[in-house]
């Protein structure tokens, strides 16, 4: 009835939504612009026009640390950890969903309990364990525990129950296929969309993880990207030049933005799945 008023209100809503989007993007935009300006330019005034000091800022940053080595280290931790989480979580989820064995409920119950326990509770005991096993400053404690990811198992178990018809496995048994063979040849392909979703989230979580690697790693050449970024505070050269700080932050962000560019659909759907699973 009041179409003009309706259209105006809708227009205002769109403007507000876009403004909020701008608030999300602005810090990144300022970061990119300032990464190309000199420290004194940034200090004296603000602009959205890129400057010409990218090369100098780059030299300041890489004189202090090699961010690409941090990325390489993060990959060395993140890729195997993600693969382990994906494979073993699928395996565990399938085992819990499809087989009725003694202790099944206990394992599943424990998983539920541990999903609720904050990570800080195990932090000291975990460090204590790593000291005992001489695993401090090694990537093993950052990679190996990825085999047991309660949240991922929980999600994939629901996925198996929803998307895998038991008759398929029974048919394979009648054809004489072994259980592990069926798992690798039949189950994994069917589960792959769910596994991919969880794997991407696991990778991002791992890539951004700071507290645990900071505690476990104490040698510069082992630092993952977030730990390396945190050591930036100690550099007087970089802190004297804001342009260098912005550039370092920009470089540290680019890889994850690339991942997002390719997988944003999976990422959004996994957050949605996390909510609907309740």
């Amino acid at each position: 009835m009041n179409t003009v008023g309706y259209k105006i209100k809708k227009g205002i809503l769109y403007v507000l939504l876009i403004l909020l989007g701008a608030v999300c993007m602005l810090p990144f935009l300022l970061m990119i612009v300032n990464a190309t300006r000199s420290g004194s330019e940034i200090v004296s005034s603000f602009t959205l026009i890129p400057g010409s000091h990218l090369k100098e800022n780059w030299e300041t940053v890489f004189d202090y640390f090699n961010l690409f080595r941090g990325m390489w280290n993060s990959l060395k931790v993140g890729v195997p950890a993600t693969l382990l989480t994906a494979y073993f979580s699928a395996m565990t989820a399938y085992g819990l969903a499809m087989y009725r064995f003694k202790g099944n409920k206990v394992v599943f119950g424990t998983i539920l309990v541990f999903m609720m326990i904050p990570g800080q509770l195990s932090l000291i005991g975990f460090y204590n364990l790593c000291t005992t096993l001489h695993l401090v400053n090694s990537y093993v404690p950052l990679i190996l525990p990825a085999i047991a990811a309660p949240g991922t198992v929980f999600f994939l178990r629901q996925y198996v129950l929803a998307s895998l018809p038991p008759s398929l496995i029974e048919a394979a048994r009648i054809d004489g296929a072994g259980e592990l063979y069926s798992f690798h040849r039949i189950v994994l392909p069917i589960m792959s969309p769910g596994i991919a979703t969880m794997a991407i989230m696991a990778f991002i979580g791992n890539w951004n993880n700071y507290l645990l690697p900071m505690i476990i790693l104490n040698k510069n050449d082992k630092f993952t990207l977030p730990v390396m970024m945190a050591s930036l505070r100690a550099s007087t050269d970089i802190n004297a030049n804001q342009g260098a700080i912005y550039l370092a932050v920009a470089i540290s962000i680019i890889p994850i933005l690339l991942v997002f560019a390719f997988f944003s659909k999976y990422i959004i759907s996994s957050i949605s799945a996390g909510a609907v699973k309740e």
Binding site: P27, L121, S122, L129, P226, S252, S272
Partner: protein, 312 residues
């Protein structure tokens, strides 16, 4: 004849079911070593006076717990955490809720959800370490771009602006951290709430439209009750996340900064005694970890109870 056939069948199924152990075994072994053991180990340490990991100590039972609960710095850290969390949760969930209302409105039928979701989620992707340095630099008191922008806006209207020391002033540091935390997380909450709305069957909305229900009636009688479980889930996960806050305040505010005491969170307090050189007291820090856990547990249970009562 039939009986033996059934028996053979059952034993075959039994045999299959036993294969479950093979599938679950790697998880269980690693889980026991790296999840269960550390939690129990922390519990044991919390009853000892071990100073450094690897050194010997003796059992002191509840001494550490008494010390945590009587240390005014712990209470200060808890108060800081609750303050930051309070501002954060109102902003983060409030904004996510408003957005959910806008995008689920049956009258406006807003478009572009896919794009907006991605843009709003973007800040959540970035490591908190990078976010911390980005904002610490942008918000720098004297030379930061943020104050320059405000200065320019004030200047435009012919007013003078005294730069605010966003992260250096105890009065503003906590709120600043809370706002950045909200900036990072509101998109995530929004996506979860929207997933809840999209999970509601179209039929309800269509039936309501046929009955001529207004948008507020639809929102109040259909949308809200049906997404209550997700609201609860979002509220509890943000509660747990909020009480664990560490990266942002830890990296943004230096220990020499006068605002440090107003942003030190409980996990920063734990870190100080658990891992910082010079102040390490492993036994004490373990007790701190358990106290934090018990607080989170209590609040989650209360939250669950409150929500469930409303449902009756």
């Amino acid at each position: 004849m039939a009986k033996t056939a059934t028996a053979a069948r059952t034993s075959k199924i039994e045999r299959y079911n036993r294969m479950g152990y093979v599938f679950v075994a790697p998880f269980v072994v690693v889980f026991l070593i790296f999840n269960v053991y550390p939690v129990l180990r922390t519990l044991y340490l919390s009853f000892t006076n071990v100073k450094l990991v690897g050194t010997k100590g003796s059992i002191v039972w509840f001494d550490n717990y008494v010390r945590v609960l009587t240390d005014k710095f712990f209470w200060n850290a808890l108060l800081n955490t609750v303050k930051i969390w309070g501002v954060n949760i109102v902003l983060q969930l409030g904004l996510a809720f408003l957005l959910m209302m806008v995008f689920s409105d049956v009258k406006y039928k807003m478009r572009g959800l896919h794009i907006f979701r991605i843009v709003y989620y973007l800040p959540n992707l970035i490591a908190a370490t990078s976010v911390a340095f980005l904002f610490a630099t942008l918000l720098d008191w004297r030379y930061g771009t943020f104050n320059q922008i405000i200065y320019n806006i004030y200047h435009l209207f012919g007013k003078s602006y005294t730069p605010v020391n966003w992260i250096g002033d105890p009065a503003t540091a906590g709120v600043t951290v809370a706002v950045i935390q909200s900036w990072m997380w509101f998109g995530n909450s929004f996506i979860m709430l929207m997933a809840g709305v999209q999970g509601i069957s179209r039929d309800y909305f269509e039936a309501a439209a046929i009955d001529g229900a207004g948008r507020w009636t639809v929102f109040g009688k259909i949308t809200l009750p049906l997404i209550r479980p997700i609201l609860l889930y979002v509220a509890i996960t943000s509660l747990i996340g909020g009480l664990q806050m560490f990266d942002l305040p830890f990296l943004m505010i230096n220990k020499t900064n006068s605002a440090y005491n107003s942003v030190q969170t409980v996990v920063m307090y734990l870190y100080k005694f658990g891992f910082e050189t010079g102040t390490t007291q492993t036994g004490y820090a373990s007790a701190v970890a358990y106290v934090i856990f018990l607080i989170i547990l209590t609040v989650s249970v209360v939250q669950l109870k409150v929500f469930n009562r409303k449902e009756d």
